[in-house]
């Protein structure tokens, strides 16, 4: 249970943390191993060197002492006895020798008790911890030997003093000499045993160091193996974790991809539907726009017919009235008939114009720009006259188009109608100018009116469907939208609008609206 919990907790740790942890462990292990090995090597070497020095130095001192005693003192005494050298000389030598001995002895003592030559604390600890072959250095032995040596030294010194005492008799001298020999020999034996002791100690310490070395190397190897195993285990664990994670993630990704794919498919279907819908809406809007403009047309027809009808009725009633009064003459009848027929023709023309307007043209025809513009103007003649709007056309007869006649006429009619409405509310001179130019296989048509221009905040919206500034029932907001659709989609042209200042006949008009229509001369799909 606990293990499970631990494992779960471990799983829960994030990927980054896990890998960092692993790395940390491995690095730590490596570093500690290196550190350990380095330390152990150095301490062992250190110890080895020191001990070696300590022991060898002490042995050298002891040997020196021994030599001094034997050679310097004993030999000198013998030589003195044999009268090879005289008393004074030997005394000098012996004093020198004694000094040497003093010095060496004190050095030796210094060395053996020096703290300098203690083994390192690490090794001491290891020895303590691992309870090495508990051969304590037999210090007591050493001490006793040293004591003996010192005793002997004292005796030798006394003897020397006796020997060099001028008051010594000759017979005692040889006795003293023999004693001296004996003492020096035993001293040298003691020194030798001390030396042996030191050598043994050295061997002992070497063994110890070996053991320590073995131990340390064992520890090192074990720890290397442990670290290796541990990191291998941990990495295996983490890698398996990674694998699991990878597989789960892969699984997730696949799931998500599938889901996304499905979504994509459904979206595609949705989009198709929406596009169809939007197309339907477009055609609906177009139809609405047509109906709206039809409504406008009918209103126009009604307007245009009202007056001729009124006049015709008056003519007819007039004929009756004149007959009742007896004033009816053939001349009067003729003139009235002429008047009436003229009016009727007018009405018929109006009908024809509008009829043609609404015939759906599925074919493109060639016609001159001037004719289509004039046609549109005829259709709005009534309002133009009523509002006293001056229309001037500056178009060359040679500009020809090959496109849908009625639709283009529709566009012009719409723009002219808008201009009429704008001009209805201004004072003073009212004009509409239509200018066309041919530039670079393109026809530029400019329609300018001085109806005050279009307000800045409205200007970007005028081509939007259902956008109108007229009161509810007077505007559908579809006129310019339709015009734009016709020009851009059916004729591959461009329609734009902006406010300008315009000068006619040296009169400057500040607020004019300019509609620009750019049509290609020949559309690329032409096969001529």
């Amino acid at each position: 249970m606990k293990i499970k919990k631990i494992l779960q907790a471990l799983d829960a740790i994030s990927f980054g943390y896990k890998s960092a942890f692993l790395l940390f462990i491995i690095m730590g292990g490596m570093i500690s191993i290196i550190f350990l090995s380095q330390v152990s090597i150095y301490t062992i070497k250190n110890d080895y060197d020191l001990l070696f020095e300590k022991r060898t130095k002490s042995i050298i001192r002891l040997e020196n002492i021994k030599d001094t005693y034997i050679v310097n003192i004993n030999e000198t005494l013998n030589d003195m006895q044999k009268n090879i050298i005289n008393l004074q000389q030997s005394a000098e030598v012996i004093t020198l020798a004694r000094q040497l001995i003093e010095k060496n002895w004190s050095n030796y003592n210094k060395i053996i008790s020096s703290e300098e030559y203690q083994i390192s604390w690490l090794n001491a600890m290891i020895k303590k911890i691992f309870i090495m072959n508990g051969e304590k250095p037999n210090i007591i032995l050493q001490q006793s030997i040293i004591k003996n040596i010192e005793k002997k030294q004292k005796r030798i010194t006394r003897l020397l003093n006796e020997i060099f005492n001028p008051y010594t008799q000759v017979k005692d001298l040889s006795f003293y000499m023999e004693e001296m020999n004996y003492e020096i020999n035993s001293l040298s034996i003691y020194i030798t045993s001390l030396t042996n002791y030191d050598l043994n100690m050295a061997i002992q310490e070497k063994r110890d160091t070996n053991k320590i070395f073995d131990l340390l190397s064992l520890i090192l190897n074990i720890s290397i193996v442990l670290v290796f195993l541990f990191s291998a285990l941990l990495s295996a664990f983490i890698i398996s974790n990674f694998k699991k994670l990878h597989f789960t993630l892969q699984g997730d990704v696949l799931e998500k991809t599938e889901a996304l794919q499905k979504l994509n498919d459904t979206l595609e279907i949705k989009i198709k539907k929406e596009v169809e819908n939007s197309r339907k809406k477009d055609t609906l809007m177009f139809q609405q726009a047509r109906l709206a403009s039809m409504g406008e047309m009918i209103a126009n027809i009604a307007h245009q017919w009202r007056q001729p009808l009124g006049s015709m009725m008056m003519i007819i009633q007039g004929v009756q009235s004149k007959m009742e009064l007896g004033k009816l003459t053939p001349e009067i009848i003729n003139s009235k008939v002429i008047d009436a027929l003229l009016l009727a023709e007018n009405m018929s023309d109006t009908l024809e114009n509008f009829q043609n307007f609404f015939k759906p043209t599925k074919e493109k025809e060639s016609f001159s720009l001037k004719s289509v513009i004039k046609h549109s103007l005829t259709l709005s003649k009534y309002i133009l006259e009523q509002r006293k709007i001056k229309v001037s056309i500056k178009i060359s007869d040679t500009i020809k188009l090959h496109t849908y006649y009625n639709e283009l006429s529709h566009v012009f009619l719409n723009i002219i109608a808008n201009a009429e409405d704008a001009l209805g509310s201004i004072e003073g001179e009212k004009f509409i100018e239509i200018i066309a130019k041919e530039v670079n296989q393109k026809i530029f048509i400019y329609i300018i009116d001085n109806g005050g221009g279009i307000k800045k905040d409205i200007l970007p919206h005028i081509f939007e469907p259902y956008f109108t500034t007229k009161y509810k029932s007077n505007g559908t907001g579809l006129g310019l939208y339709m015009s734009q659709q016709i020009i851009e989609k059916h004729m591959q042209g461009i329609i734009r609008c902006k406010n300008v200042c315009y000068t006619i006949n040296n009169n400057k008009f500040e607020h004019c609206a300019l509609f620009t229509i750019i049509l290609p001369m020949k559309e690329s799909t032409d096969d001529k």
């Binding site: 008056m314 007039g318 009756q320 009742e324 004033k327 008047d339 009016l343």
Partner: protein, 221 residues
């Protein structure tokens, strides 16, 4: 069919204001046969000129003129005190606002286009009739005055008195003495007068002190 005496129109002038030139022409042509003079104009300016220079009895006006408004025109006319001519609106528009304003301006009638000739003539007739009658009455008065100046004024006074005191059944209850008390006339003259009137069947003594006046005898004169 004309059921009114359209002939009275012959004595009157009409100002016709309409901006549709064709209609103006045709209507003037027809009205010329009935009115004394038809002044056909197509703008308020011209109309004002005509009003200043001519005697107009009726104004016929369209409401929506080019750049102008017939109602405003009438308003400005009504405000100037010396012009108070009866007006008829002829128009194609029947918006309530126009109607209300027209009523406030007390137009005589409001005709909707297309114009029905009979209706128009009847309307004009109804407008001019009072004027005509006024004129006739004026003429009669003048006649009486002149006659009374030229002839025996007292006899005229007696006749006036009788005419004044007729009741609804054209009878007068009076006596010679009553008349004589009001008018300074000698009895023989009075009796002679009554006799003459009785001979002509104009004033007949139906019963004691009651005399009946026969209108129709006058008509047969």
């Amino acid at each position: 069919m004309i059921n009114r005496n359209i002939h009275i129109l012959h004595n009157f002038n009409i100002l016709y204001l309409e901006d549709d030139v064709e209609l103006l022409k045709q209507t003037k042509d027809v009205l010329d046969d009935f009115m004394q003079e038809v002044f056909a104009v197509s703008s308020i300016k011209e109309a004002m000129k005509v009003l200043e220079n001519e005697h107009i009895d009726v104004i016929l006006s369209d409401i929506l003129l080019k750049d102008e408004n017939g109602i405003d025109f009438l308003k400005s006319l009504k405000e100037s005190t010396y012009i108070d001519i009866p007006t008829v609106f002829i128009t194609a528009h029947t918006e309530t606002s126009y109607l209300l304003e027209a009523i406030k301006l007390k137009v005589e009638n409001y005709i909707v286009k297309p114009i029905n000739l009979k209706e128009l003539l009847n309307t004009i007739h109804d407008i001019v009739l009072p004027i005509n009658q006024h004129k006739e009455a004026q003429k009669s008065n003048n006649l009486i005055k002149i006659i009374s100046e030229v002839t025996d004024g007292k006899q005229v006074e007696v006749i006036k008195y009788i005419m004044l005191h007729l009741d609804e059944s054209n009878e007068i209850h009076t006596s010679y003495s009553e008349i004589m008390s009001h008018i300074d006339i000698s009895k023989p003259t009075l009796v002679k007068l009554f006799k003459k009137l009785s001979e002509k069947n104009i004033l007949i003594n139906t019963s004691h002190k009651v005399y009946k006046f026969h209108q129709d005898s006058l008509d047969n004169l």
